[in-house]
Amino acid sequence: MDSVLRAENISKSFGPNEVLSGISIDLKPGEVHAVIGENGAGKSTLMRILSGHIAPSKGNLHFQGQPITFSGPVDAENHGIVLVHQEILLAPDLTVAQNLFLGREIKRFGFVDDRTMRERTRGILAELGTRIDPDIEVRRLSIADRQLVQIARALLVPHKLVAFDEPTAVLTPIEAESLFAIIRKLREHGVAVLYISHRLNEVKAIADRVTVLRDGRHITTRDMEGLEPLEMARLMVGRDMSKLYPDKPATASDQVILTVSDMAVPDYVENASFTLKRGEILGFGGLIGAGRTELFEAIVGLRSGHGTVTLDGKSVHFRDAREAMAAGIVYLSEDRKGKGLLLQQNLRVNLSLAALDKFTRGSFIDVGAEEKALDGAIKDFDIRTRARDLLAGQLSGGNQQKLLLAKMMLLNPRIIIIDEPTRGVDIGTKEQIYRFIAGLAENGLSVIVISSEMQELIGLCHRVVVMRNGRIAGEVPQADLSEDSIVYLATGVHEERAAEIAAGHA
């Protein structure tokens, strides 16, 4: 069949730097085509070219066999090429229906026709298999529902090609399953789907063909049939990735260092209790919104909550992060850009911010000592930066995470709580972060890893506590660690059942 959109030898340069070179890809109707690659491989640039946001420097696009040049995203949309953005781009105070028709309101006698828009919204949401109320304000929806609204908004225009950019980043497994059901439905209707992700398991589950990019180059395009995630990872990184997780350090002792009992956070967590041992990597699993982040924010004094926290046998109560840090507990937020780093400040200022006392001589900051610490951090944490005076916001996600780790490690903590350590991090950096975490435990420190990636919890942790709906649902010891045991505790159902529930067969 004729391809919907075909790119021939596309190259893109920004100034003297070529970020894509000679990429060819063709997107066929009724096919899910995945594009994978590490952060910085050129996935998003390619997608922005295909959806008309930027023009290629070299090469041609063919739309249904005819050469075409898009004047912009609106032009591409008029041809039926729509993009579902990774970030949620909705107005939180408007209703679902108002958001869906924002900028393309249906009018009647010059006034907006709310009733028609509401009906059409209801229809399209039903088609997506959801029953979100068209009149509810978007800010009252869960992240997953917001994403559905965003998809609905994209599908509102007649579409021949739908591009998804990392759509499952914020979704739980059940929600991801229903998204896949939507994608399959699109495929059945003969729509071409472009699917960008770095989660290889789901690429394996949903895609028919996969194109691998590395450093802006086209590595290969293959049928999904017979291609395993491990092989995809190898193609992406260019080396063998079978050893993503380091050996679990055998340093976990029986010495309990932290005990939390009956912790409650209003609206989020109810009587949560757990213990942490010296030299242990303790995982916290569960769905997004299960209350894991809130629990730990309350423990380190970033949020109000009540309960007993015992550190080294002594009861403690932290009123703010500063007190927790003084006691040797650091928390690395999952929201690196919003709560972890000052994106508009340089690396030096970011690195020393939490441990600034260590860099003051008399009343003044010793910039020389800060520079030295930055040299050390760049070396120890392998922070890849072209210039030392770069702003933190200009680093890639992986390097930001390394900088955040370096910043918190300057406090010499004994307990390190890392929330989603590898979110938005490419696979090469992931491996480094895992090794670093294991190294901390080897040195007798205790680490708590909060993660929504089950493979990560299984591969990294000695023990995994699972939360569901603000309560601790149970604990999985090392010997029993498996996706199914975690999913069961996180959702109350076994994994195969989860897929069935999502598919509506329950």
Binding site: V19, L353, L356, R386
Partner: protein
Amino acid sequence: MTETVLRTGAEKRKFNIDMRALSPFIALIALAIAGALINPDFLTASNLLNVVTRSAFIAIIAVGATFVIAGGGLDLSVGSMAALTAGVMILTLNSLGAGDMGTLALGMLAAIALSAACGLANGLIVTFGRIEPFIVTLGTMGIYRSLVIWLAAGGTITMRNFELRELYRPVYFGSVFGIPVPIIAFLVVAAIGALILYRTSFGRHVVALGSNEDVARYSGVPIWRVRTLTYIIQGICVGIAVLVYVPRLGSATPTTGLLWELQAITAVVIGGTALKGGVGRIWGTVVGAIILELVANIMVLSNFVSEFLVGAVQGAIIIIAMLLQRSVHRGR
């Protein structure tokens, strides 16, 4: 992909940041040249010293405003606070009655204490009341202003002791090695301000707070204390400005310090400090205050525009400065 894009971005940004820091100085030089062309009297030492002296009050207040704004806050009450402080200081001096150095020192102490307390009030309400600083200081602006009107019973509060006036006079009219005392005062305040903002951990915390409050909180920065302190520093700066201002006229009226908040904020913005916080430029602020006074001076010396329109021109300057900042920012 991201890497290469950023490389070019970084080079460009470096250039632009330099532009941003330099632009107030360039504007100052351009204005000086324009002034010299318009009127030969402009470039005389006495005129220039006069201009800088007159800018001292605003410059000193604006140094404090740089802290508040760099920390992500705003203080609209400085003009009213100056009037109240001046009024109370004069009333204190009058009630003490004597004309000696000790009395003067006590009066000065009272002025600084009051202005610091006013700043503390602003800071505590903003911090613990969790109210927008714009609203809080709009409220205290009204309160401080009407307190001074009430104290003056709608009239003028004047220093009564002639001896004391003579003793106090040199603080505005005197000079050391040919440099007027107000200029020395404002250079000292600016130097101390720069030292605190750029070299201490408190200064670093102010910038962090203005950059992103959440990041500051998650990094263990004591945000309540830092934020309140910025308002106290603002108050103390207002107090110092009042110390230099009172000997000039020896009185305080309900219109003392009117629209000083506008001028102080204008000076800060012209100086390149970001109004949304996260960037603070003390020396830019100083130059900004001088530019404002320079514009007024040039308008008086030339005959192009009525000097009654000085306020309009200064208002236009803040808007133009913001537009320029925006375009430099976009150019990144």
